[in-house]
Amino acid sequence: MRAALHSLRIWLAEPRDGFALAAFIAGASILGIAFLVMLCGIPNRYRKFVVMSVTFVAGLFLSLEFLLPRDVVSAQGLVFSIGAIGLIISLGFAAKSAAARPRDIRGLGIWLAMTVASTAVAYFASSLRAIAVPLTTLSKSLTTARPAVGDLAMIISSFAVLLGILNLFQIHGRAVSRRTQGWYNSAAFFVAFFAILIVGLVMDWRQSQLAHLEPGSPAFTTVSRANTINSNLFQILFRGFLTSLESTMFSLIAFYIVSAAYRAFRIKSAEAVLMMVAAVIIMLGLVPIGASITSFLPESGIFSNLRLERISYWLLIGPNMAVQRAIGFGIAVGALAMGLRIWLSLERGSFFDRQL
């Protein structure tokens, strides 16, 4: 069985080109579609179980791959940390038990005994190489398998891209066929889509042809010339059109910032006044004229702190940074909670419980 799997792995990984490559891609696509059809065919009563299992296994894989250490000393630290978590939790429950029922000596004693036990077990277990070494081995194997998991996710995404393109064709195709208002924009979509698709595919084909030809041969020169024309065409479409259009959209932000700032800084409330004063100080602190306004103040000593550029710097690294970090902590804890709920299939309400 192992030998068969090994041979299969070698056969899958061997390089292919030309017809063999095309046939391999077609075969893999058919298998992928068949697998997706099979998944869609799962009865509703089993679907929830399948989704929960796959989510749990995938989450476990990724979290273990991140959390497990790869050397023995760190693995011993991990075992000790698990004990430390047990210690803190037991201490917390002991304190809660003592506060809720001060006379319940037995309850308090149980929690304190668990505290001592978790410390002792963690200390003893962390010294055992028999625990630490398998953890590092597991960590290394998970890391080795990670690219394959990444490839799997990418393959599933590729199938979804086809559905996305289908949606674009459906919407724009209907607009063109019904001649709705602005249908020519939809027609432009088809022209752009097929132009970049055809030029890109031909460029790849020419490059694969070049790889098999002898440099300097007449055939190489002919294909190389055609490839240069094709590459130039691709550059015109990609850099000339797409990148320029994207840069145009990006440059609009400068104007939008001005109009948004105008509305935000209109004095409507105490908060708006505070924000406007802070913004004016920061803007002045970043330009030479701001520094010249308070240049009469000394460069050192207590009064130097009143110089505009110093107030501006303080606002940025003090209050601003503190708030940014506070929001950051909140987001991180929220993401952890959401991740846990999804991983353990605890997410309820909304669409999760009904859909599964």
Binding site: E65, P69, G182, L252, G334
Partner: protein, 272 residues
């Protein structure tokens, strides 16, 4: 430590382990029937009002989940989408969903279909209202801006992960006179949304949305657990600030030595 897990050290294991414990413990407590209180979140309260406005004006709504893919940010956006679509279905209001990720597009379509069906109006679902525009940032943004202007939307929801396109969308929404509700965990884009939108869901409020809207005890428990996690972080920050201040004032004191050996070495600097 290895290349792929260089951030996982004892501090990460203990702090993350404790926060995970708080969250799971509170979820279990909530399931046992413990009463939990969560504060009012204005940005989430206004969702019903925003749907109502579009209904009154007889115009469609726009829901843009940003450049989010199928991750926890995207799943939370889908939870809010489900809520919005169900409310829209009650009043027969159109919701146009513009997606930049092909995988999320398939999920959004299913979510919208399920939401209409849950409200007993499966016939209202129109697959053309769930649109995959492009995976490229500004191509997607220009597509959304085009829809904002062509459809003259009454309400726009920007719920998901946004980058530089946030202000382009919000300003164009402002131009067409739409009431705008934004929610993003992207800290760099929050100021833009605050300046240009009517309501903004910021920071961890974003991840609280599904719990807040559904009022499901399990999820409310998770929110309270999160707060305990934040208290733990706050305690560590205060302890660190006090310790470092003691170190700066009395660098050779025994208290600082203890702090250095048992706290600072445990939370090494320069992890990022």
């Amino acid at each position: 430590m290895g290349e792929s897990n260089q951030f996982a050290n004892q501090a990460v294991w203990i702090v993350e382990g404790l926060i995970a414990f708080f969250i799971l413990h509170k979820i279990l407590s909530a399931r046992r029937g413990q009463n939990l209180f969560i504060r009012r979140i204005a940005g989430l309260n206004v969702l019903d009002e925003a749907v109502g406005r579009a209904t009154e004006m007889g115009k469609p709504m726009l829901f843009a989940p940003g450049l989010t893919g199928l991750d926890i940010v995207g799943l939370q956006a889908m939870a809010i989408l489900s809520y919005v679509v169900r409310h829209a279905a009650k009043y027969g209001t159109r919701v146009i969903v513009t997606v930049a990720d092909a995988v999320l597009y398939t999920v959004a379509e299913e979510v919208a279909k399920d939401a209409f069906a849950a409200e007993g109006a499966p016939e209202q679902f129109n697959s053309e209202d769930i649109r995959f525009l492009s995976e490229r940032q500004f191509a997607w943004a220009s597509g959304v801006v085009g829809i904002l202007h062509r459809e003259q939307v009454a309400t726009a929801f920007y719920i998901g992960y946004f980058y530089a396109e946030s202000l382009i969308l919000a300003e164009n929404g402002q131009m067409v006179g739409a009431i705008q509700v934004a929610g993003t965990p992207a800290t760099t884009q929050i100021p833009f949304f605050l300046a240009a939108c009517d309501y903004t869901i910021i920071g961890d409020e974003y991840y609280a949305a599904s719990a807040y809207l559904s009022r499901e005890p399990t999820l409310l428990g998770s929110l309270v657990g999160q707060d305990y996690g934040k208290l733990l972080m706050l305690g560590l920050i205060v302890l660190g600030a006090v310790g470092v201040t003691v170190g700066a004032t009395w660098p050779h004191s025994g208290a600082y030595e203890l702090f250095k050996n048992y706290f600072l070495s445990f939370f090494p600097r320069g992890m990022w």
